[in-house]
Symmetry: C2
Subunit: 218 residues, 2 copies
DNA sequence: CTCTGAAATGAGAGTAGCTCTCAAAAGATG
DNA sequence: CATCTTTTGAGAGCTACTCTCATTTCAGAG
């Protein structure tokens, strides 16, 4: 298995993903084309994943379906995995986390952060999210990456926590806190996806957080 | 990145790894050779990782250093990653988990399971473990795999929990419990590795578990 | 409208991880 | 020693990913 490369810079000032708001600003022809290509790649990729599965779908096929060259694919997504994982989550997480006042006690605020996050995700297209989560649940490498603390969302959480505590390096306690929050979010989303994405994700998350608080009462 | 293939069966009845006890039983010439090859591959691999880093070390190099053909490498380890991650952890975890009586309340028992696990690991060669954990901490794909709940140890924990609860499919609560336990163990080990593997891992784990119990008191 | 510079693309060659097949080598067995 | 079984090496092939370089496409200035 090729080790995943570090992020390659995306085409310059690419708005990378979550869209509507950004479209309002007038985009140059170039930027509109890039967006189109990006969307086409994602759309065709998900279609192919649906039809043939993750492994059976090659990057070449995706590129062909989107009518670009294979090399162009990698200009838009550093890895095949990033096609599923990148973009949408990070900015959402970032916004949600940073919008919290700095003096709230931690778990409470994490709870709210997570709920807020889920609410925003929930407002997106349901179908696409569902498909995405199902893929993430089914493909081991995706699943693993979603849980990894060095990757975007969890890593940011940790940084924020460390910063708030006035420390340079995270303590064991902070790391565990971040990991637990991340694992909870991930497991809940995956559980939701596994069960057909029915019902309110936010409710499930409530259940999860309640369980977390009772873990030690046994 | 090539998606990791599903586990390929190891050479037939291979004792795969943790050794001493098994060596006492008289091994045939064939089995002794296999063990030797396995050890050589691992030894040379870690040496090369140390010298050149993970990415710069190719499977071909490892095979050459161990004086076997590249194809033989993959007969012993399904992926390059498995060279670092496989074997030792799973049987230990399995033994530790299954040795718990079935009627203990959960977190308590998980705590003991984890402590027991760490003790046993700790009894291994310190140097090798340190090197291993350092690698795991530093290489993203290894780190990610160690965190993934679908991989061996966590998966087994979940199964066991589900079974004990008399259920067919795990509930959200069980999944979160397993994920939290796994994340705690992983983060603690990584923290230990990141800090030079000084001190007693078991003590750190105590600290981690205490923190877990206070997560909701804020 | 045209010229010029910058950015995006395609073509293609190359690397590494991994799979599969097949024939040769080596240990086990009688 | 002969035969059966397991292990090995050689090598071809696939896919993810990288890099380079020539070509095309847009943007902005005159």
């Amino acid at each position: 298995m090729t080790t995943p490369r570090s992020a390659r810079p995306r085409p310059s000032d690419d708005p990378s993903g979550s869209l509507e708001e950004l479209i309002e600003a007038p985009l140059s022809l170039r930027e509109r084309k890039k967006l189109k290509t990006r969307q086409a790649l994602r759309r065709e990729a998900f279609r192919l994943f649906e039809e043939q599965g993750w492994e059976a779908t090659t990057v070449d096929q995706i590129a062909a379906a989107a009518e670009v060259s294979p090399s162009t694919f990698f200009r838009y997504f550093p890895t095949k995995e990033d096609l599923v994982l990148s973009d949408e989550y990070d900015p959402l997480m970032a916004a949600a986390i940073r919008s919290r006042p700095a003096d709230e006690p931690f778990l409470t605020s994490a709870r709210e952060v997570l709920v807020a996050l889920v609410r925003r995700i929930d407002a997106q297209e349901h179908a696409e999210l569902y498909q995405r989560m199902r893929l993430t649940a089914a493909v081991p490498s995706l699943r693993a990456r979603m849980l990894d603390g060095t990757n975007q969302p969890t890593g940011m959480l940790l940084e924020l926590l460390t910063e708030r505590a006035g420390l340079d390096a995270p303590t064991l306690e902070l790391r565990i806190t971040a990991a637990v929050v991340s694992a909870t979010l991930t497991e809940t989303s995956l559980y939701w996806a596994d069960n057909g994405a029915r019902g309110d994700l936010a409710e499930l998350l409530d259940r999860a957080l309640r369980h977390l608080q009772e873990l030690d009462r046994s």
